[in-house]
């Protein structure tokens, strides 16, 4: 069973509109690289030039924020659900 990744609206242009994709990886860092291979351009949106997850993007493994696990070294196992959650500002005034 692969890992399910929730893609937020602003990044769906890169996944051909898919809101959920499946991939295989051992860590969150590896997952970002796997996504980049499948959907080029996604890594630079999620990570800065040092490859660190940007401060206005949060990644959750199941319900937990990876910053409170072991960040990009957080291990993944089959069946995990990963959510990429950028800050959104709209109230559409």
């Amino acid at each position: 069973m692969p890992i399910t990744v929730r893609i937020p609206s602003p990044l769906r242009k890169l996944t051909g509109g898919l809101g959920e994709v499946q991939t295989k990886a051992d860590t969150v860092g590896g997952l970002i690289d796997a996504l980049e291979t499948a959907y080029p351009g996604i890594k630079e949106r999620v990570c800065d030039e040092h490859g660190t997850v940007r401060r206005f993007v949060n990644i959750y493994v199941n319900e937990e924020d990876i910053r409170f696990l072991t960040s990009q070294d957080t291990p993944l196992k089959d069946g995990d659900h990963v959510s990429i959650v950028p800050a959104i500002a709209g109230g559409c005034a």
Partner: protein
């Protein structure tokens, strides 16, 4: 203050709920809620809070009603295009519930006015459309120990969070320490938004606000709800206090209100009232 006969009738469906009852309804009637924005999110929340009998509603919005607002901003009507949104809001809300006090401010919220604006309120609802305002509202609520109910929407997706950093739960900066830089996050105006999504998220904000007033149920103070209208999924993610938070951490570096520049070179981050 005892409820009048008319109030007993008006709020009867609340009064028969044991989680509300007469005591809870009086709490609602005495509550003071401040809404940042009378737009997509502010419209549904204000309508339901007024209907519920929230005694005092403060509303700030600098804009006037535009035809393109009416796809989602249900406080306003076609014949009020050109009218200040706060004035339109007052007309709609006082027609719905003449019992409540409505304080309106046709102005932009800023570091110079926010503390005085929200000081006398219990809860602040943020339905603003840009990051600088979201960070300003978060910081001001922390300094004044106000509960903040934050909602935001983008295309088909929305987020809701309740922030009570003064009671030890995370603040908005614990989730997102700084606004995104220019160009990385498009605004609603550029990206569009499903009108009804504003309703879904605004009403979740109203529900969380009423729960906070009543002290009922499970507070969302340690969670972030994500709603995706296309997938029809809700996910509640856990939020945690960032021990290095510049605002609410043990060694804060933000001790006064900051104004992030809303320059036109960063329209996507600063937003632009549609």
């Amino acid at each position: 203050m005892a409820l009048t006969d008319a109030q007993i009738e008006r709020y009867s469906r609340h009064l028969i709920l044991k989680e509300v009852g007469g005591k809870g309804q009086r709490k609602i009637n005495e509550a003071k809620v401040f809404l940042v924005g009378a737009g997509g999110l502010g419209s549904p929340s204000a309508l339901y809070l007024a209907a519920a009998g929230v005694g005092t509603l403060g509303i700030i919005d600098a804009d006037t009603v535009d035809l393109s607002n009416l796809q989602r901003q249900i406080l306003h009507t076609t014949d009020r295009v050109g009218v200040p949104k706060v004035e339109s809001a007052r007309q709609t809300l006082s027609a719905l519930n003449p019992d409540i006090r409505i304080n309106i401010f046709q102005d932009r919220i800023s570091s110079s006015n926010i503390l005085n604006l929200i000081r006398d309120y219990d809860i602040v609802l943020d339905g603003s459309d840009n990051f600088p305002t979201r960070f300003l509202v978060n910081d001001a609520c922390f300094f004044l120990k106000k509960t903040l109910v934050s909602g935001s929407i983008f295309r088909f997706e929305g987020q809701v969070a309740v922030i009570k950093a003064h009671e030890g739960s995370p603040c908005y900066r614990c989730l997102y320490p700084e606004p995104p830089p220019a160009g990385l996050v498009p605004s609603c105006q550029e990206a569009g938004v499903l009108g009804v999504l504003a309703g879904t998220i605004g009403i979740l904000q109203a529900a969380e606000t009423l729960k906070e007033i009543l002290g009922a149920g499970e507070s969302l103070a340690n969670g972030l709800v994500m709603y995706d209208a296309l997938d029809m999924t809700f996910r509640t993610l856990k939020t945690r206090k960032n021990p290095q938070c510049a605002l609410c951490g043990p060694n804060p570096t933000i001790t006064t209100l900051l104004d992030y520049e809303q320059s036109c070179t960063m329209p996507s981050a600063a937003g632009n009232p549609a």
